[in-house]
Symmetry: C2
Subunit: 217 residues, 2 copies
């Protein structure tokens, strides 16, 4: 009797507009890991709050990745797990100090900007204007830090000339800043230059939210 093929593809629960989902989507692409994406509409349908999704991710956020028989949540935990289990091509520079430089950039995005511009914050403010001022302030403050960090570490990419986790954090956040929050990058020449280069990379062009959105429609 023929044995059924086991489903070996990873499953990414994400959303086209979610910057944290894009981090993971880009890592899966870069490491050439076979996966299928299932859309969880966190904006209009608020599908992350359903009982069905709660079983997959009790934290009720995207992304979540099912891989190797386990469900892993939180994008940075997912990236590092993929790096630990599928080390090539690597998402990290070789030396401890360059890895620290990479993580400074990651954390500036992950804890310094992303949580403070999240669409989920909107309902906590008295007005859309108050929310917009808040997100603009924190995003710009983060961008000033990133400009300084990239001046020291960047080549073609965030850390010299190797794609790394820093790029996977940077690109989705800049897309949000520019597209959703209408911020200008004029004051941030180093960021702008690296961003333009990165958008040309297949890792980002082929996982771009505008493409994912098309598939969801």
């Amino acid at each position: 009797m023929a044995r059924m093929a086991t489903e070996t593809r990873a499953i990414l629960y994400g959303f086209w507009l979610s910057s944290c989902s894009w981090r993971v989507r880009a890592a899966l692409h870069l490491k050439d890991i076979s996966y299928v994406e299932r859309s969880v509409d966190i904006v209009n349908k608020r599908s992350q709050l359903t009982d069905e999704y709660r079983v997959i991710n009790p934290s009720q956020k995207v992304p979540a990745l099912i891989i190797d028989g386990a469900t892993i949540i939180e994008s940075m935990a997912i990236l590092q797990y993929l790096e630990d289990t599928r080390p090539k091509p690597s998402l990290m520079p070789r030396t401890p100090i360059l890895r620290a430089r990479m993580r400074e950039i990651c954390e500036t995005v992950v804890s310094g900007i992303q949580p403070l511009q999240n669409v989920g914050l909107l309902s906590h403010f008295d007005s859309t204007d108050q929310y917009k001022n808040f997100t603009k302030y924190w995003t710009e403050r983060g961008l000033y830090s990133l400009e300084d960090l990239l001046q020291k570490s960047s080549g073609q990419f965030c850390i010299e000339n190797q794609l790394s986790m820093a790029d996977l954090c940077l690109v989705p956040q800049l897309y949000n800043a520019v597209t959703r929050h209408k911020l200008s990058l004029d004051k941030f020449p180093t960021i702008s230059k690296v961003y333009e280069t990165l958008l040309e990379e297949k890792t980002f062009s082929e996982t771009h939210p505008e493409n994912i959105k098309q598939k969801d429609m």
Copy 2:
């Protein structure tokens, strides 16, 4: 001629009330790394905004660690750098999946709670009550996620019975939640149990903010 002894002690720029500083302080203690702490009063004097500190950390936040001739910012970048360069005792479990479980907890604190209860947010709200409701909502939402994660992974500590980065993130955040934001942990029995155990560990009792505060006075 006698050669001058080189200053080999690390320098931690931190503040007694800063949860991110405590993460690093605890890691330095756990790894028995010789260091001196310099206080940067981020609450009353706003010393992080001075030109003097800007030279040390252009992001104008604590912590920053000077070690091995380099200045490293962002607490999670610092923890991982210490782990990479001084691997014993390790701050991480051995297997990729347990490391992923550890990082799920870290990121829930680092991006899910800490940025959304930061004292720096206060001036962006119309009233202290609005700020308090905001911090309470996001802290509690994070605690529900942590309770679920810890139910699956904890033993004595966050990840089974080994101290890890997850504990270094958890304890300072809970101290903030309970002491500063006056939140009750009654709804979170697993978190409460692990927290009580962790507070008895020297890594936390000897680096506790109340001790650091005394030295600053």
